[in-house]
């Protein structure tokens, strides 16, 4: 009983740890998009594409953590 509880708790902690990096990464990506769109608004459409690719890539790590939370 206690081991199951500890495992469940550790899974949640693990997912929380896995979400730190992607959170910082997406924050930096959004910062970059905002700054560059403010400097050159006409580039915004093109930059959005790069932003979403980058955000999806770093978010993939958090999502892998979520998957491990469900299957682990």
């Amino acid at each position: 009983m206690e081991i199951t509880l500890a495992l469940a708790a550790l899974k949640v902690v693990g997912y929380g740890l896995a979400a730190i990096g992607p959170g910082i990464g997406i924050g930096i990506a959004t910062y970059g998009l905002c700054v560059s769109a403010a400097r050159q608004p006409e580039m915004k459409g093109q930059l959005m594409g790069y932003f979403f690719i980058g955000a999806a890539m770093s978010e993939a790590l958090a999502l892998l953590g979520l998957v491990l939370f469900f299957i682990g």
């Binding site: 594409g49 999806a56 979520l66």
Partner: protein, 264 residues
């Protein structure tokens, strides 16, 4: 207060079971879960919306409803397809608009109390992600051929000895796209609805404690007001998330199509 808290914890622990798919009825050995039922309802709603809007097409639409749907299509064309894919975006617009409208209507249906969103079931989002995955891979293979497509996975300008390593990493990140597309949508919808459910349970638990626990205890009911305000705020956030997730799914599909069909 104590009883309300313990009741809340007890109710919240049984919450995950409510989100498990359970069989509503079976046809010829196929189990139809409640999510599949809502999937078909979403199909019908999408058909009604789109066909209803397309019934009388005008150059300058005077009908407000068809104007709204046309705005959505225009949005996908301009902000998703043209901005992200660029050259040769026209033939991908119908696919992206279908994905966008279907996911948007699924998500919005789930926000109506008592309704379920079929995108909150992993099987549905796997299917959507698999459709998108097959679509961009087929277009990539069509554009470059098998070996050409495999070569475009590795960015040009990588020094020779490093190329196989980079190629493998890129190939891996290409394959897990199907997983990330599916899990992003599923996780967002499921987690959002669970948060709404937790706040709803908290509101009712504290309210029950205040009204029906022997003596009328209004102080014990005060937290339920705070929970209700949080519930309303989260509901507003979920309305935003319902749109954003549909948009993100469409724009990521567009990015993947762009990466597959244009050498980089």
């Amino acid at each position: 207060m104590e009883e309300a808290l313990s009741e809340f914890v007890q109710e919240a622990q049984g919450l995950a079971a409510h989100f498990e798919p359970h069989t509503v009825f079976s046809i010829g050995g196929w189990d139809v879960t409640q999510y599949i039922v809502w999937l078909f309802i979403a199909f019908i709603v999408v058909l009604l919306v789109v066909l209803g809007a397309a019934k009388k097409l005008q150059v300058i639409p005077t009908n407000k409803f068809s104007n709204m749907v046309e705005y959505g299509y225009e949005f996908v064309t301009r902000n998703v397809a043209e901005d992200v894919i660029g050259h040769g975006f026209k033939k991908h617009v119908p696919f992206l608009a279908t994905i966008f409208f279907f996911i948007l209507i699924c998500n919005i249906l789930g926000l109506i109390p008592g309704f379920k969103t079929s995108t909150g079931a992993i099987s549905c989002t796997w299917a959507l992600a698999a459709i998108s995955f097959v679509y961009f891979n087929v277009y990539g293979l069509k554009t470059f051929g098998f070996f050409g497509y495999m070569k475009t996975l590795c960015p040009s300008g990588v020094p020779g000895p490093m190329a196989p390593v980079i190629w493998f990493l890129e190939f891996f990140s290409m394959v897990i796209r199907v997983l990330t597309l599916a899990v992003r949508l599923y996780g967002n919808m499921l987690a959002g609805h669970m948060v709404l459910a937790v706040f709803g349970i908290a509101t009712t638990c504290f309210l029950q404690q205040a009204l029906f626990a022997g003596s009328l205890d209004l102080i014990a009911g005060l937290p339920s007001i705070a929970w209700f305000v949080l519930l309303v705020l989260m509901y507003a956030l979920e309305c935003l998330v319902a749109f954003i997730q549909a948009f993100v799914f469409a724009i990521l599909s567009a990015s993947y199509i762009n990466m597959a069909t244009h050498a980089h």
